[in-house]
């Protein structure tokens, strides 16, 4: 599977209601190391209820500068959330379908993890 198959797909919950669009995918390097780096395991997808473009990730940092631009972009992406791989029921050509009872997690990147 290549990533752009999933990016910008519409996300539906188990009852078929639209909850947003996939704007990014989060990976963490905690898999088995096969080379210098550990494997990058998919944590989940970042879903935005408002738009398909990620645009600079300001919604995930809390000290973005310049302040004016950061504020505009955070507003643009309000309501974005992370959904875990375990909560994905199905990946289709243009849709991602979630399991019932899926969890919405804040997509913020904390402290030292923020790069």
């Amino acid at each position: 599977m290549i990533l752009s198959d999933v990016l910008r797909s519409r996300v539906l919950d188990d009852e078929g209601r639209s909850v947003g669009i996939v704007i990014d995918a989060r990976f963490v390097l905690d898999g088995v190391p096969h080379g210098p780096l550990a494997d990058a395991r998919l944590v989940g997808f970042i879903v935005s209820p408002h738009t398909g473009s990620s645009f600079l990730g300001y919604e995930r940092h809390d000290d973005g500068r310049p302040a004016l631009i950061a504020r505009v972009l955070r507003w643009h992406h309000r309501g974005s959330f992370l959904v875990h791989w375990e909560d994905i029921a199905r990946l289709d050509e243009t849709r991602v379908i979630l399991r019932p009872g899926y969890r919405r997690i804040s997509p913020a990147l904390l402290g030292a993890q923020r790069r």
Partner: protein, 143 residues
Amino acid sequence: MTRRSKRFDAPLPVLEPAEQYAGQVLDARLHLLDRQVLDRDGVPVQVVDDLELSDVPFGESIPSETPAPVIESILSGPVLGTRIFGGRPPSSRFHRVSWDRIAEIGIAIHLGVAGSTLDVTWVERWVRDRIISRIPGGHHDPE
């Protein structure tokens, strides 16, 4: 505490707190896509146009307990056109650099190998051999 979003018909509840992870976190669009890939000596090799993930069930239900996919390789080449305009080239046309060649990921992606050992640099080598080598002075070191 829920609010109705104007454009989508599902209500928006409060989010769970942000997570901490036990390893380096990479968000594809923020940290990987469109980043420069440099070889062991700092020579540019390609830009990350797309990512190839390990296979997962596609177009069918995913059984619970299915392990999460991992990134197998970073891709460049024809995938750029399809990323912008849509569609998908056949996988034989991807230029791949497999994940185990990467040494470090910072503001650029640093490989642990020399560019000449990679398949993806064949275009550069072709241009070098067919065109640049035919012009006198092509191997002259300017420094």
